[in-house]
């Protein structure tokens, strides 16, 4: 017998009598709050080190980005409405390593979580998997109608969707490995800006 069969046989012999899966309904209904999710997201997101902006339209986002980023830096955008930047679909066939000099990457998320500031992005929104990690700074645009209270509702919304890759991103990359001192900017982006549209 090979290791696969050996392991499965040993597990089968040693696992104990059937224990049923618990229901998840109570956790879902207990946390399904009608509180102001934008306010909650702003508070939690900021506490996690993100810059959270509630904006009226794409023009407002553009104005903030003009202020924060010097002209001439490499910016890649996954958002058609922010037309002045390189559109991600146009460069998706370049090798991942070529994005090492990206200063800012702007992507859309269709699912945000108020309890922890996490934004769900799949490969579809990223186009290139490494982009939201390799860029020096990341910005994510989300509509406030796409905010849910907790991870319970988030996975209900994701449901059985298929994706090659997906990630919850809740802030800038960070570490506290040196004497528990929080340092923003570990290996991923040094900042996360979240733009909440109506």
């Amino acid at each position: 017998m090979n290791s696969r069969e050996n392991i499965l046989a040993a597990v089968k012999a040693n696992q104990f009598s059937q224990a049923d899966l618990p229901g998840m309904e109570a956790l879902s209904s207990l946390t399904a709050t009608t509180d102001d999710l934008v306010e909650k997201y702003k508070t939690i997101g900021s506490a996690g080190g993100s810059f959270v902006y509630e904006v009226a339209d794409y023009e407002a986002i553009q104005n903030i980005l003009h202020k924060e980023f010097k002209p001439g830096v490499k910016i890649i955008s996954g958002i058609k409405e922010l037309g002045e930047y390189t559109y991600v679909a146009d460069v998706k066939h370049e090798i991942s390593h070529s994005f090492a000099d990206v200063e800012l990457c702007i992507l859309r998320s269709n699912l945000g979580v108020a309890e922890n500031g996490a934004l769900w992005l799949t490969e579809e929104e990223m186009t290139v998997r490494v982009l939201p990690f390799i860029a020096q700074h990341l910005a994510v645009v989300i509509s406030k109608t796409n905010l849910v209270p907790t991870m319970a509702q988030a996975y209900e919304k994701i449901g059985g969707a298929t994706y090659g890759y997906g990630a919850f991103i809740s802030g800038p990359s960070k570490t506290a490995d040196i004497e528990q001192s929080l340092v923003i900017g570990a290996h991923g982006p040094r900042s996360l800006s979240v733009f909440i549209l109506p």
Binding site: L8, K12, Q15, L30, M151, S173, D177, H187
Partner: protein
Amino acid sequence: MSSTATKDHPQLAAIFNRDEPRVDWHDETLWWVRAKRDIAAHKLPEWELLRETASQIKNNVLSNLSTYLEQFEANAINNGIIVHWAANAEEHNKIIYTLLEKRGISRMVKSKSMLTEECHLNEYLLKQGIDVIDSDLGERIVQLAGEPPSHIVLPCIHKKKEEIGDIFHEHLGSAKGESDPKILTETARQHLREVFLTRRAALTGVNFAIAETGEFVICTNEGNADMGAHLAEIHIASMGIEKIIPERKHLGVFLRLLTRSATGQPITTYSSHFSKPQDGKEIHIVIVDNGRSIQLGREDFRNSLKCIRCGACMNTCPVYRKSGGHSYHTAVAGPIGSILAPNLDMEKYADLPFASTLCGSCSNVCPVKIDIHDQLYKWRQVIVKAGYTSKAKTLAMKGMAFTLSSPMIYRAAGKMGRFTFKYAPFAVNNGANPWYKHREMPKAPEQSFGEWYAKRKENKK
């Protein structure tokens, strides 16, 4: 590790305890992390329901593990992932070496994986001429220092920033005497960015593997797992058989518990779900047993396989906080490590279940409700019955059994003891008596309870 392998927990703890201010600092730092956990937990009114639900999901996993493993494998293969099975550490290491060797790869970047620590993968690959760089900041620090991690979530929690500054000065060329965490982290960022961009292979651990979908989830704050995995041609993920959860929606329970229990954060910065490889690239999963199926068969100890590696039991443990992670001489330290390790090697780790006050704090903070302190107590009994306790302890216990076997011997021994305490305290208050090491011996009473009771009866007459 090899230099400490012959010393047991009390001896290694004694080494850590030589520097008292450092022990206090270590103790306070971890307690601060524990306090952050409490704040995060208390913010959720449904916290206890979350723990109970997580525990029940894991019960279900352990009772159906073979089915879930097969389901996970089938779905992962269907997603284009290549699945390997390893019965033990040696096979795990060989599988990884073969994958690298076949592709002519001699350098690999690795994100945090306690399983690879358990398997001593780095040492093995180094012997085969493969260079491995750990990319989690804390792991990189201990790797450069030539030490194993001392904590599963906070690998270099035992190190002062000045020591880290010295290590970085020597290996990464930072300025001499520089100890600012911001500057040291930036130094590591620059160094590791170069590593991520030049490695063709990346190894990661696995936090959760979902049977229903064949995807697996990795949680980091630093983004190092993603940087490595997305840039490499081949991504190898090592997982123990117990990492399985049945359905994707169950992540909504575990991801809410994991970091709140670990550090008090509501979630890690990145919770990455790997389902299919990128075009032209490969994902391999190595599913490892290494004693876990045996532990599954030990009724008293199988619950230890529910562990999601948050480290809460370590942060709260008064023994861990004051003895340091290295005193446990095993990959996973602290209370959970002390109930996992004896399953792997009962003789080598016979000391660990005794490295506890049995206060129960570990069980109280465990997000999946493992009965850790009960298991520590049960392991003690198994270990004593198997004859793995030290000779001195066995002798002492035999002496005690003999003394308690007859009232006459008991009374004589009591008299002798009181005499010794009164007239020759130096005979017990010395280094030869392990009990005296951290305690003053008590003042002996003039008479025993038995003598006092007999006298009282006489006076009443």
